[in-house]
């Protein structure tokens, strides 16, 4: 049975991935829709479609979607990579605690991410490990919990991530499965407040520059939305009149979502459309959302290269203070006065994550900053915009696909 299902899964994937005739029809349709939009608005509109998920950016770059869609559609990557947006400060604190004798548990990407201030000469947890600190790379929170059980050395879990991972933390706390000697440094961040913040910054910048109200569309993150549900994005439609499509991750999904955004702009029938209906529902994973709100409280929080975003961070509630690294280890949280610009000189990660620049505008890109020797945070994780552009930006796939489509 299992094989059978795996087979079917593969066939579905292929269906989404290799359907060139469908892709070219979607492309024609978006051209027509765009023409209609031009006629409707009476000007040469540019439509900016933002994504908030590194995997969407990956699909966009890998399959060359920017070169498939009409040039007046600008596909912009927002803050969609949890490793990139984790303030350097928290990693620096972990390095410091590592030197004080604590064992640090972290994911592979966070292990490599460079800090902006060195601690004891180390600029990453990886360097701290080389310098003798006890740093353990884990695949999941569960792995860390299993590793620590029965081990007297006090550990700290650097808990980064978005809504997709928060329920894992919450489930373990709620079920009393987190050992007493594992502290948790919660750096969990929420996507919708960051999307709102980014769109506002972008809008302001465009109005200043061009004196024109920009047209936006949002491709909402599919996997974050499995938890939050489509409903989490309705405020963008209601408050900002921006069309939203919760999209899957195959090229067909993304192209179809772009089409749907154009359709909404043309007809004025604005709403949250769930294109990724095979995994996302309107209300989302209600059970996981309840777990999250039982274990975590929402507070203002800081994002790397960006600064404070209101009500965008999850912190352990009082019931779990005993595990809370902020509380137990006296780690002072960032605030307006202690916040510092936490990207290296010249690095444009902040602007890139806010959709104000592309990696090509950074003087370090593919020179002093490469996937094997990252300088800024966006070059580390496979979901980081710079890393995606560096690895796949020049992919021949784009040309191949374009040739096959005859465009």
């Amino acid at each position: 049975m299992s094989l059978n299902i795996q087979d079917r899964l593969r066939r579905i994937e292929e269906l989404y991935r290799n359907n060139l005739s469908l892709i070219s029809r979607i492309r024609d349709l978006s051209n027509k829709l765009l023409e209609k939009l031009q006629r409707k608005t009476g000007r040469n509109v540019k439509v900016r479609i933002m994504n908030f998920c590194g995997t969407h950016e990956w699909t966009t770059v890998y399959y060359g979607i920017r070169s498939i869609v009409p040039s007046s559609i600008e596909l912009v990557a927002g803050p969609g990579c949890p490793v990139c947006i984790t303030p350097s400060y928290y990693v620096e604190q972990c390095i410091k605690l590592g030197f004080e004798g604590y064992r640090i548990y972290t994911y592979g990407d966070t292990y490599k991410v460079p800090t902006v201030r060195p601690v004891e000469g180390c600029r990453s947890l990886e360097e701290a490990k080389a310098a003798g600190c006890d740093v353990v790379v884990v695949y999941s929170f569960l792995d860390a919990i299993r590793h620590v059980t029965g081990d007297p050395r006090r550990g700290i879990f650097l808990g980064i991530g978005f809504e997709t991972i928060a329920p894992a933390y919450a489930q373990m706390f709620k079920n009393n499965k987190v050992p007493r000697d594992l502290y948790f440094l919660s750096v969990v961040r929420l996507t919708p407040p960051a999307a709102e913040y980014t769109l506002n910054v972008c809008r302001r910048r465009l109005v200043e520059e061009y004196g024109e109200e920009p047209l936006f569309g949002v491709i909402a993150p599919g996997h974050v939305s499995t938890i939050t549900g489509g409903e989490a994005w309705s405020f963008l439609v209601e408050r900002y009149r921006i069309p939203v499509v919760v999209s899957g991750f195959e090229p067909v999904d993304v192209l179809l979502s772009i089409c749907e955004i154009l359709r909404q702009l043309v007809t004025g029938d604005l709403r949250v459309c769930i294109e990724y209906s095979r995994a996302v529902t309107w209300r989302g994973n209600v059970y996981a959302k309840r777990l999250m709100s039982e274990v975590f409280a929402i507070r203002d929080s800081f994002w790397r290269g960006i600064g404070k975003i209101p009500r965008s961070g999850l912190y352990l509630r009082e019931t779990y203070l005993f595990w809370d690294a902020f509380n137990m280890l006296g780690i002072k949280d960032l605030d307006e006065s202690s916040w510092y610009r936490d990207v290296p000189g010249g690095c444009k990660c902040g602007e890139i994550m806010l959709g104000l620049a592309t990696p090509l505008e950074c003087p370090h890109f593919l020179k002093s900053c490469t996937p094997s020797r990252p300088l800024g945070p966006c070059m580390v994780s496979s979901e980081g915009t710079c890393s995606i552009w560096a690895r796949y930006g020049s992919s021949l796939l784009i040309e191949d696909l374009a040739r096959e489509l005859g465009i």
């Binding site: 049975m1 269906l15 469908l22 349709l29 569960l142 991972i165 079920n175 996997h223």
Partner: protein
Amino acid sequence: MCWAVPGVVVEIDRENNIATVDFGGVQRQVIVAVENINVGDIVLVHAGLIISKLDEKELEEYRRLMEEFERAIESQEEHMHQEYLVESSQ
């Protein structure tokens, strides 16, 4: 990080909310934070957490998805064609 991989549930430890998921040969223990999960379900797993159960009905009629797409596009095309006719007759 928000990459999610589909797999099949092969075992569930309900007391601890932990499941074993098969990713086409490789098995891993993951945390469960979805309700009504059963052995044989196809799930999306992200960083050691089941974030969603794929809709079995949709999976079984996977062709339907494509048909839906096709239909959606056709109705769009038709709709636009009609509008075009209306516009040009004005």
